[in-house]
Amino acid sequence: MSQIFHHSTNTLSKLSIFGALFLAAGTLWLVLEINRSPYVTQAGVAREQPVPFSHAHHVAGMGIDCRYCHASVETSATAGIPPTKTCMNCHSQIWSDSPTLEPVRESFRTEKSIEWVKVHDLPDFVYFNHSAHVNQGVGCTTCHGRVDQMPLMWQEASLTMEWCLDCHRQPERYLRPREQVWNAAYEPPPDQLALGRSLVKEYGIHTRTSCSTCHR
């Protein structure tokens, strides 16, 4: 019986064996890249909110400190989303007729909460603590980006575990003096590594990379 396949098909079959390897590796790479992409992480995607609250206006324009609204950031795991009452402290006096702010006034009248869309949404098995970070010289903008330049809030970082560990393994690359934590316009000095190392020593920082630091 004559051969069905020509001799050259041997090459093809060899190629396809190697090709399959590359294909598998390529697919894996693709999946990993997709998972890191803003499509999945939602980094950089501004969210629609019931009230188009502008951090840019309130932080950069009015100079309101982060902690005026996010009051529990220094003491609790969660920074705290301000109650309607906090909004009304000012907005019962200014822009008190603005139709944009009607949901806020309605919430105050009816005692029904405003339902904000969560922008920074960690998985439920991750236990992040704001107070542990802001008290040790991690600035707000280090993770949240230039909030003072965001008209609508978006998530700046990918919030992947890789991103967390990037800092937990080398905190000196990101630390700033405690008094600069709330400064949205803070620019790291050119000798950040030297400053960071001295801060690590001064604040006695032991960054932890054990699983139970965040997962439990």
């Binding site: 999946v31 997709i34 499509y39 999945v40 939602q42 529990s72 220094e74 003491t75 609790s76 795991a77 969660t78 705290g80 989303i81 301000p82 109650p83 309607t84 009452k85 919430s107 105050f108 005692e111 029904k112 909460s113 405003i114 339902e115 904000w116 869309v117 969560k118 949404d121 998985p123 439920d124 098995f125 236990y127 603590n129 107070s131 542990a132 008290n135 040790q136 032991h206 932890r208 990379t209 054990s210 699983c211 139970s212 630091t213 997962h215 439990r216």
Partner: protein, 1007 residues
């Protein structure tokens, strides 16, 4: 499988031979282990018995494969989706002191038999999630029992009744008020002659005042009380001895010798937590405690109890013989011995002699205590002995009763039943309690109650009594309503709500009683506050009230705490009131260790909690001694689905009940113990049809024991879920015990038997701990086996309930189990308890086998368990010699019921199926303390972190801390000579270690 006859018959002679052959102390967990039965070896050598985890779903293999294929395909797709959008819902106006993400703590009280035990309840954003003891409260001292821990689950029980009903139909509160008004108007002419109120034991001053007010308006109305597990005999005996029903307060911290006559101070009573603390304070060794200061405990009991398990000398006796024993001891110490017959054959004279001598040698520093299930005569003997020995005023004090109106409750219920039968009752208000289910069967309560024209029931559940009442008013849970209650010593706690009632129709008892007054709409808060204001203890300003709410204790001068007079020395005990022993066996009734008198039957945590000693779950049984079982031909077969046992018929005074038989080593011969609280028909989805109803046999003339029981095998078999052989460790003496004499000669006797390999033996490099290194030491001398740790862990760590069928297969999820070991013969073995959480090994066998690094070592020495990484290979649990890892075979956590979600601890992941889980030393508490300390710029203080099990423990047996700090309590305990590591010879180097058990037997006893 069901109905398989045969199994391993109890072969007593074989067991005895085996015991005689063993060298040294032999420890065993079950008769199967002692006999070396193949079923036990199966448990020992495997994690789960063979076929326990085979897939026998009716779906079948083919369906399973189809499902698998579909889920694989879907899993691939779901991997690419984003997280669903979530909402943040802040407050409109934030409540005072509320910081999002931080819990608040409120002091209040839970009641046990009417008496308060102070608790501090943790609340997350308005949701009560966890109960802890109140360190300032005299009945708690910071500890809790299983009931306190489990009370938070009752709050969220979806089966609680939610609406006011009339004949089963929903009605508004207004129509109830109208009905009450009409009834009261009808009663006014007769001055309330037809009005009866039935409550449980009442210590609440406010409630008592309300009832008195009602009785003042209707002088002919009557107030009845009934608590099926109430201490009627103590009331009667103290009334006879002191002149009025009194509280007897024992100070076990001052007692060198304690004799318990069927008294279970560990498991029952309003002061049990305090007594455990006091008792264990005299059982610690090492440090500053000298061996000479160790107290000695004698227990004579008719049913094995936790107190008996602690005893240095334990004497199993039939309940009817306890009085004989008490009388003999009284004679031995020179107290008036009463009319009981002299020591007979089954009451060993040597035992009595040695006890009497020991008591006399410690006159003024000893305690004789009788249990509420013994008749007043035994209590009178105990009083007389204490009086003769000069203990009264020293270790035993009498105080005025804390109850609002201490009466003979059984007589009270009997009166009520007779009055109902005679048609004298026109309106009955059942204010708590479930008399239709729990009244003595001879009173025929349900039929007689049906004769009452207006029946009102108030309770948490639409239960057996509610079904037969016209009106059912849903009760608010104690965490939802204002009230007050008194502890055993009279301390008043204001019970404050942590949450508004989950169901709008719920009322407190105070609000219900207000409906019978001219001001029916008064709030519970106003009623309680106005009462105390009227007492003049609140002062002019708010301070005293706020202080009371903050501390959980009301500084009330109205409460007398002074010790009353002792019993008159010449008082002769009343003649025996024990029922005459009939032919046949004796039956002993006891409230259950989990569901009590049945009120907690719908609590899944308690149902699944292995009962102390028997280790049964989800059932009660007819408990008997090995010899009695042998004579009845009982056989028990342990299988991969649970333990098959004989279903027997209990015939007692013309009534019958069918119950599974269960063999308990150390049970007195010729006696059968049955536990109350099971066989409920309207408990709820959890408790309905669990176990058999022992109330069906209980009569009012012999509420606690009686003779004339016949037991017949029915020929049917019954499946029980017993955990005693689960998670068995290969026999290297996991528990180690000795006597005080041995300890004094060789303090490190626990280490002598087994070599611990040198740390250098491992192939892996050693971990270095520069910061903290968490460790735990568990003192087996202080552990009383009460299970509080298991429930505390369950509440703290969101551990689900798996159900009887799954427990039978060995899939219970408790992270900390209390292993119970016996040593010695089957007739009267010594008992040892050993709580076993994860050992957090240095050389952890689990870590090296995980293919996905889901369990890894932390820099502080914990074996972290990363749920989100776990893929469920179960290699880790296969490799764990301690068998402390738990696998979610199915989706055990309830992801659907909204009310149950509120209970969960937000700081701990709720695990799904296919995930391994285990103890992590409450790493959420470690992290919280670490972050708080860092934020405040200080180191973590010694004792700042308490694990959930440690915090609940009434014996302070569990100590947790930093072993890198040589000053810490845990480091000091680990330096004790008694300290040993469980299976340390495997070179796992466990972080959790044990202090060996030391008993203090009387050398003169010579048994």
């Amino acid at each position: 499988m069901s109905g398989t006859p045969g199994g391993s018959d109890v072969d007593l002679s074989g067991l005895r031979r085996r015991l005689a052959d063993s060298t040294g102390r032999a420890y065993w967990k079950s008769l199967e282990e002692l006999a070396g039965a193949p079923q036990f070896l199966e448990f020992l050598h495997r994690e789960f018995p063979e076929q326990a985890s085979t897939f026998d779903d009716p779906e079948g293999r083919r369906g399973f494969l189809k499902m698998m294929g579909a889920s694989l395909a879907l899993a691939g797709l779901t991997g690419c989706t984003r997280q669903p959008e979530e909402k943040i819902v802040p407050y409109v106006k934030p409540p005072e002191d509320m910081v999002p993400g931080r819990p608040l703590f409120f002091a209040t009280a839970v009641t046990d038999g009417g008496y308060a035990k102070g608790v501090i309840v943790e609340s997350h954003m308005g949701r009560p999630t966890k109960v802890e003891g109140n360190p300032d409260h005299p009945a708690s001292l910071g500890a809790t029992d299983v009931f306190g821990q489990a009370s938070v689950l009752d709050l969220y029980d979806p089966d609680r009744s939610q609406t006011l009903t009339h004949l089963g139909e929903i009605r508004p509160w207004g129509s109830f008020l109208a009905a009450v008004k009409a009834a009261l108007d009808g009663q006014r002419a007769a001055q309330g002659g037809g009005l009866r109120i039935l409550t449980e034991t009442v210590t609440s001053p406010t409630l008592a005042a309300q009832i008195q007010e009602l009785l003042a308006a209707f002088p002919a109305a009557r107030w009845h009380q009934y608590d099926p597990a109430g201490p009627d005999s103590i009331r009667a005996a103290t009334a006879q001895a002191v002149g009025a029903p009194s509280e007897v307060v024992y100070d076990l911290a001052k007692a060198d010798v304690v004799l318990c006559l069927d008294a279970d101070f560990v498991g029952h009573g309003p002061a049990n937590l305090r007594m455990i603390r006091a008792f264990t304070s005299r059982r610690r060794l090492g440090g500053e405690q000298s061996p000479a200061g160790m107290s000695r405990l004698y227990v004579a009991e008719s049913s094995p109890s936790l107190t008996g398990a602690l005893a240095d000398h334990r004497l199993p006796l039939r309940a009817s013989e306890i009085e004989t024993l008490a009388s003999a001891v009284a004679a031995g110490v020179g107290a008036p011995a009463g009319a009981a017959p002299a020591a007979s054959g089954s009451v060993p004279a040597a035992w009595v002699g040695a006890v009497a001598k020991d008591l006399q040698a410690h006159a003024g520093r000893s305690v004789v205590m009788a249990g509420p299930w013994q008749p007043a005569a035994v209590h009178a003997l105990a009083h007389a002995i204490n009086q003769t020995l000069g203990n009264v005023g020293q270790t035993v004090t009498y105080a005025p009763s804390v109850e609002a109106r201490p009466i003979d409750q059984l007589a009270s219920l009997r009166d009520l039943a007779a009055a109902m039968d005679a048609g004298q009752v026109q309106a009955l208000v059942v204010l708590g309690g479930n008399p239709v289910y729990e009244a003595p069967v001879d009173l025929d309560f349900a039929r007689r109650m049906d004769k009452v024209p207006l029946r009102i029931h108030f309770g948490l559940y639409d239960d057996e009594t509610a079904e037969r009442c016209h009106w059912h008013v849903p009760a608010a849970h104690p965490f939802e309503a204002w009230s007050d209650a008194r502890a055993f010593d009279g301390t008043v706690t204001i019970v404050q709500p942590l949450i508004a009632p989950l169901y709008a129709g719920c009322k407190s008892a105070h609000e219900l009683l207000a409906a019978f007054t001219s001001k029916p709409e008064r709030s519970g808060y106003d009623i309680v506050r106005d009462y105390w204001k009227a007492q003049g203890v609140l002062g002019a300003d708010e301070k005293a009230w706020q202080r009371a709410l903050h501390d959980g204790i009301l500084a009330a001068p109205a409460v007398a705490k002074a010790a009353g007079p002792g019993p008159a020395a010449s008082a002769t005990p009343p003649p025996t009131s024990a029922p005459p022993a009939g032919q046949g066996l004796e039956i002993v009734f006891r409230p259950d260790a989990s569901v009590r008198d049945g009120r907690l039957a719908n609590n899944g945590w308690l149902q699944e909690l292995p009962r102390p000693l028997t280790k049964l779950t989800w059932d009660n049984a007819a408990l008997m001694s090995p010899r009695t079982a042998q004579s009845l031909g009982i056989s028990i077969e342990s299988t991969s689905l649970g333990s098959y046992t004989d279903l027997v018929e209990l015939i007692y005074r013309g009534r019958t009940a069918k119950a599974p038989a269960w063999i308990v080593p150390g049970h007195p011969d010729g006696t059968v113990t049955v536990h109350l609280g099971y066989g409920r028909t309207r408990a709820g989805r959890v408790g309905n049809g669990v176990g058999f109803n022992a109330y069906a046999l209980r009569t009012s003339d012999a509420p606690w024991f009686g003779g004339g029981l016949q037991v017949k095998k029915t020929g049917d078999r019954y499946l029980l879920a017993c955990t005693q052989d689960h998670w068995s460790m290969e026999g290297r003496n996991p528990v180690r015990a000795g006597t005080l004499e041995e300890y004094e000669a060789h303090p490190d006797y626990a280490k002598e038997t087994f070599e611990e390999p040198p740390p250098s033996l491992s192939l892996y490099p050693a971990f270095k701990y520069t910061g903290h290194a968490w460790g735990m030491a568990i003192d087996l001398n202080s552990c009383v086996g009460c299970n509080a740790c298991t429930i505390a862990c369950q509440a703290e760590n969101n551990i689900p309930v798996v159900g009887k069928e799954q427990v039978g297969r060995g899939r219970e999820l408790h992270w900390i189990r209390v292993d119970r070991y016996y040593s010695g013969g089957v007739e009267n073995p010594e008992t040892h308890h050993q709580p076993v959480p994860c050992m957090q090994c240095e050389n952890a066998p689990c870590e090296v086998v995980c293919p996905v690094a889901a369990t890894v070592h932390s820099d502080e020495g914990l074996n972290d368990m990363v749920y989100n990484r776990c893929v469920g290979t179960r290699y880790c649990s296969n490799n764990c010699p301690y068998k402390v890892r738990r696998f979610n075979f199915f989706l055990y956590s309830d992801f659907d019921t909204p009310s149950l979600k509120l209970q969960r601890n937000p700081d701990v992941t709720v695990r799904s199926r296919g995930v391994m889980e285990k103890c992590t030393y409450c790493v959420q508490r470690i992290n919280r303390a670490r972050i708080d300390a860092r934020n405040q710029g200080r180191p973590i203080k010694e004792g700042e972190i308490k694990t959930a099990c440690q915090q609940a423990c009434p014996g302070e047996a569990i100590v947790f801390g930093d072993i890198n700090d040589p000053g810490s309590r845990v480091a000091k305990l680990k330096a004790e000579p008694r300290n040993y590591g469980l299976l340390a010879e495997l070179n796992t180097r466990p972080r959790t270690t044990y202090l060996a058990h030391v008993k203090n037997p009387n050398p003169e006893m010579g048994d």
